[in-house]
């Protein structure tokens, strides 16, 4: 059924190199995703000011003081009914703490997972989506707001969420690209003197990254995608590769970077390790020391402050 589904989508696809990706991925669907050992059962760190746990793909649980932020939550085993998970989520659903701000970067199935939002509904305090994206958010019991670029919303009295521009796509189904042309964003979250940048999914645009740095000031942590990389001539319009992610990190002038958006789903023509190998080469090329780029295993948590 999954392969039939992929074939139908391939046939409906209009501008992507889907047949090549289909040939590569349709027959590599794993029986079951790889298990994550040693998953944390209580990810809240009372001793930490700034901590991040990579759940997988673009899902990161960020702790800023006493506040918890969750990015693009995906806890399901298949996104868009088509793309299977190759590694289990790095945090079990029942161990997700109360979330003060949940950030959705755009409408693609690997970022806006409605099933995951349903499962997390009771734990989410406030959900943020890009401008024009409310149409794809079913009615919820918690607060939901859409933010246009540079628009801010303060949760409580001290957790400030700002939408920042990135370069990506806002559609969900393909045909809706004709009108869903602005429903993608990055975010900056500020709390207790700390600033975290979440890039979601983005192509490289030096001007946008530098504008964000100028507007928001020093960034403590940047969550930046490093894949999918291949096929590059198709992906580069919407996705940074590892080298561009490092350049974005330098443009943002962030203290730390955590690479995301790789090694979790069958994605483009990338291998699970490809983006990470490319990242290490890019770091060496740009002279970025390892202590600034914190490569996490899925399920691993790092305390940065």
């Amino acid at each position: 059924m999954a392969r039939l589904s992929i074939l139908i989508v391939v046939l409906l696809g209009s501008c992507a190199p889907f047949p090549e990706i289909f040939r590569r991925n349709a027959f590599q669907i794993p029986e079951r995703p790889r298990e994550v050992e040693g998953r944390l059962t209580d990810p809240v760190r009372p001793d930490a000011q700034l901590a991040a746990l990579w759940v997988g793909h673009a899902t990161v649980l960020v702790q800023m003081g006493d506040r918890q932020i969750l990015t693009d939550p995906v806890f399901v085993h298949r996104v868009g009914q088509l793309s299977p998970r190759i590694v289990e989520p790095g945090l079990l659903l029942e161990h997700v703490p109360a979330i003060d701000a949940c950030l959705i970067s755009h409408m693609h199935f690997d970022h806006l997972s409605l099933s995951s939002l349903d499962l997390l509904e009771a734990r989410i305090g406030h959900l943020f989506v890009p401008g024009g994206a409310l149409v794809y958010v079913p009615r919820r019991t918690h607060a939901v707001d859409s933010l246009e670029s540079w628009e801010s919303f303060t949760v409580g009295d001290d957790l400030r969420v700002t939408a920042v521009p990135v370069d990506h796509e806002g559609y969900r189904y393909g045909l809706d690209a004709a009108w869903m042309d602005r429903s993608f964003t990055g975010y900056v979250v500020e709390h207790a003197g700390m600033t975290v940048y979440f890039g979601g999914d983005t192509a490289y645009d030096q001007e946008l990254f530098e504008a964000t740095r100028r507007r928001v000031g020093p960034i403590d942590l940047a969550l930046l995608p490093i894949g999918p990389i291949r096929p590059r001539d198709f992906m580069e319009r919407t996705h940074v590769d590892a080298d561009e992610a490092v350049r974005a990190f330098l443009d943002l002038d962030a203290k730390h970077m955590i690479p995301i958006h790789y090694g979790t789903f069958l994605h483009g023509l990338d291998t699970a390790e490809g983006p990470l190998l490319a990242l290490r080469e890019a770091m060496a090329r740009h002279g970025v020391p390892e202590e600034r780029v914190r490569v996490l295993a899925i399920g691993e948590q790092v305390v940065l402050r």
Partner: protein, 183 residues
């Protein structure tokens, strides 16, 4: 027949009712495009069973207006012609015009007008949904009532629908349809 007429009248009255005063709704940017129109030309295939006789058929679908009850209150629940998969399959009521052709010894044009409600079964209708509809039409050169039920998967793109189209003195007219409908 009378029931379906009443449902049509009630639906039109509901559609004409003003939106709640508290809602400052965004106008929907959804609009027909050339690509959308191209997909709408793709017919659904029918297997018609009329009083024991088997025929083939084709039909198309047009949605003049759709009301979705599942969207955020700040978003317009109305759609005209074009409806996103989630907007339709997560819970909606729509008017549907169904022109078609019944093949066989003497091919004939058909037309049905329906009120159709669609309900999510899984993942806000993106994974699976169910529709129930009722209406009135002209089928096999005769006036018929129409009662139908459908099941859809894969963002509503793939669907099967069964319709019962009784008419006075002939209650055994059915159509089983297979559709690929994208938006």
């Amino acid at each position: 027949m009378r029931l379906s007429s009443w449902s049509l009248v009630l639906t039109l009255a509901w559609l004409a009712a003003p939106a709640p005063a508290e809602a400052q709704r965004e106008l929907s940017p959804v609009r027909p495009t050339g690509v959308w129109a191209g997909f709408q030309l793709l017919p659904a295939a029918d297997l018609v069973i009329d009083e024991g006789r088997l025929r083939g058929g084709l039909h198309w679908q047009v949605t003049p207006v759709l009301y979705s009850w599942s969207r955020d209150r700040r978003v317009s629940p109305w759609r005209f012609l074009v409806a996103e998969p989630m907007v339709r399959h997560d819970g909606s009521l729509e008017l549907v015009a169904v022109p078609g052709i019944v093949l066989g010894d003497r091919p004939s044009a058909s037309f049905r007008a329906l009120t159709r409600a669609t309900f999510s079964l899984a993942e806000h209708g993106e994974r699976a949904s169910l529709s129930l509809g009722a209406g009135y039409g002209r089928f096999l050169r005769r006036d018929v009532a129409v009662v139908e039920a459908g099941l859809y998967v894969l963002f509503g793109i793939v669907g099967v629908r069964a319709a019962w189209m009784p008419r006075p003195g002939a209650l055994r007219t059915f159509a089983l349809s297979f559709q690929l409908r994208y938006f």
